[in-house]
Symmetry: D2
Subunit: 283 residues, 4 copies
């Protein structure tokens, strides 16, 4: 049984939900999940609609055209349609720290992620054996003074593997604005603080210095503005005066891997929409 997932956004008005659910029902689709949201300020409408294609009388290649006709009834209507077997292809970028990498690869193996991790790229060779243990290729592209050359090599790998999503699993290099622009809403990073607190380098040291009682981690889409992209997921853990910076790093690792994996999972399940610099994450 194939399942279709439709993400829609448009200016809010009467009848949108009825029109879309009618469309599904008229062709024999059974709705499996529906979530919607209207932003109070901007009056923008967002919907995620999931239906079974089992007895759906339109072929999947016919659906987009039908939706484009439907769209004419509404203002600023845009949509994203996918099918459960269109599994997005994921590249992981990492450096030397293995915890997020293991976490993603193990979840992938256990079937928690609705996508395919297909390649792991790193600026160091340290973690080479990790993807290999999970049966995945590892590509070593060392960092270099010539960032453009490095990114060209990375881009070639992404193209070779037909990548849809890039996950920065504690990748310790800043991406160029050009690379960010080429992959809008397709790069997810984990920042090891509760953003917007402690932007930039060494957030655990900053947290220790400020004497906070809770530390956090934040998964966000990467934009050209460092640590300023739309937040997908965050979580926190309590700390105390007894925790050294090393303890914060250790406690933070547990947060980082969970927060990053939840964000990647939500993205791959097509649960994340964007309104300006904020996300709507349908649960």
């Amino acid at each position: 049984m194939t399942v279709a997932t439709l993400l829609v956004q448009c200016t809010d008005r009467t009848g949108i939900v009825a029109n879309l659910t009618n469309f599904v029902a008229e062709y024999g689709g059974n709705i499996l999940d529906l979530d919607q949201h209207t932003d109070e300020e901007t009056r923008r409408f967002f919907m995620r609609l999931v239906w079974s294609m089992e007895r759906f009388s339109l072929g999947r290649e016919e659906v987009p055209a039908a939706l484009r006709i439907l769209a004419k009834k509404f203002d600023d209507f845009s949509f994203d349609l996918s099918f459960a077997d269109d599994r997005r292809r994921v590249a992981i970028l990492c450096s030397r720290t293995p915890h997020c990498l293991y976490d993603l690869l193990l979840r992938h193996r256990m079937g928690e992620l609705e996508g395919e991790i297909v390649v792991v790229v790193s600026n160091h060779a340290d973690l080479k054996e990790v993807p290999e243990h999970f049966g995945l290729p590892f590509v070593h592209i060392p960092a270099d003074a010539d960032r453009a050359a490095v990114e060209a090599r990375q881009q070639a790998v992404f193209e070779q593997y037909g990548i849809d999503l890039i996950v920065l699993a504690r990748y310790m290099q800043v991406l160029s604005p050009e690379l960010c622009a080429r992959w809008p809403r397709q790069i997810i990073n984990i920042h090891h603080s509760f953003l917007p607190a402690f932007v930039g380098a060494r957030p655990y040291h900053q947290a220790k210095a400020r004497g906070v009682k809770v530390i956090g981690a934040t998964a966000h889409y990467v934009t050209a503005d460092l640590d300023q992209g739309p937040i997908i997921e965050q979580d926190v853990v309590r700390v105390s005066h007894r925790d050294t910076v090393d303890d914060l790093v250790r406690k933070g690792r547990d947060l980082e891997r969970q927060v990053l994996s939840r964000a990647v999972r939500a993205h791959l399940q097509r649960r994340v929409l964007l309104e300006g610099n904020r996300t709507i994450v349908f649960s």
Copy 2:
């Protein structure tokens, strides 16, 4: 602007969402919120649909008849319709502990609860001044060997005040099966443990004896089976070997008042449906 809230349940089949959202759209209603759920095992469908009546061309007294006609298309269809200004009338039953009582009354005053607390009934006189401070009547009905007589007096108060919901805010008496049967899904209790752990009396003592590292509180609908009714909300807090039973009681108070208030709030917002002995709480 009046807002209508419709809760629906029926056997799942194609077209339910379309039919109901069409119904709203055809008469000019704008959907403000929609949440739905199909139980995987029982194939039962549940929906909560909220729309603005501002330009709705049916009068509110005409809606039920229209829904009954619509219902004929579906199996085992039942619905519950209400309007934002139909505020449910709430009685609180308490004994001697004030924390849940203050919490509910303060939230009521601050406009957090979509209902009206109209009377406080207690088997003790200790808390008399609390409802009075909030401008509400207090009725003292002492416990007595003749439980039937006590409950008859309580029932008379509930009828006098036109009560829709009874909240047991740490009320230390067990209700008779008759009273439970008379108010199905209309009595909410707070039990001071993480059910089903520590059913019955003195749960904090039980928790201390077992050496748990987390304690909880559970808000549930009251049925004739003690502490077995459908769970609406639960939450927990960490404890350690340093916590005496008195500390558990103190930490538990914070949980109890929050968990009870969240459950009452969800009930009054018509977010709670029942499937057998389980609740669906739309968020």
Copy 3:
């Protein structure tokens, strides 16, 4: 039975714990609680020592002199000694929002706070009936262009009531540097964000604009630097795209009152020490 609580800090070296616990044991005191901490970077030692005075052969007025002699063995030794019946006297400053005020007054009545709330001061008359319901005096000192005059009146009230601790329970005025300096480590404020994120005004609006998935509250000692004082306690709650600013305010209220009350409770139990701009909170 009287209980003594001693807070000590000095430069770390061998034998401090032995010296202090020996001192208690030699005079017949039984240690009830002991917690200690040495800061890794600064090598500064902190201890909280609680013992029963029941069979202690020194009178309580003799203890400080004995400690001063002991102190000569150590570097930069300072201490704070108190007895369980020296209950600190607390003034609450509030404005119009009642939730933190009710929370503190109810906990006080239920015996959760080891201190005495003795007066409530506000720049508005709205909450007059709240302290009166709890049997406490209310003093109305309206805000005024002449802040110095207002603060002089407040100071007179604090002196009249013999105040040891000032709690800002959502008090919506900024205190002058002079007032802050007069009450070092004796003013506790609740800020409605997870500091250092969202310093300053309207933090819930800032949180909504940034699209965070978790909001927080922070209790801290007030210093002349707005929202920069030492953090005593913090906590957070999850939010989503569905939460409007009003929802954040409502959810935040639950956090604020709990975080503030925990900080006040810890302070009154003499559990809080300071190292620079950070707190050590012994649990």
Copy 4:
């Protein structure tokens, strides 16, 4: 620099802390950490004392005799002494589910555990490659109708590797009372519920059936009574009506691995003491 960790328990009386800290100070030891607890009901005293051996004038083999002399001053005094380089040797028992196994092995590699995982034993061959990837031996001992024979083979492995601690990382076999008796307080299990709720088989199914809003995991020492041993650590996660049993299993995996690893870490750091069927876990 070697560090000594001393766990002590005895009947509470005046002077215990002074005697022990004096002992350390007299021989030139610097106390690095001290935590103590007296049980209110049983009046039993517990302490964990950590000191630097750097300038300690007793050799480590002399310390036990000195402590035994000291012990004569107190009633029912028992102690457990260890040094940081006495790293406990750990065997992991698992079946087919890899998440707890990976978690422990990765934390071991990253230096989070103060012990040595030296062998992995399983009743299935499925996870063979996991310990091998981490450079550890894997021993396959299939389950069999003759449990005694199986356990004899396991015991032989434990003896061969000089095991101090057995960790059941989702091991799906019940241990015999004889095996439990041979390894008292040396076997840690992870149970996939918030004990004492949902003892026994298929706790996630039980949780779904009861309709709880929070699920948990519990790490405990194994005794002959199934799921009744002393609880070391517990934690929980929220669930809703949307979560199927499969979702509970998935969410539970994150809990299980964290709760188990925290318990193992605390045990290896000698932070766990027992009072009857309850643990004291010094933080």
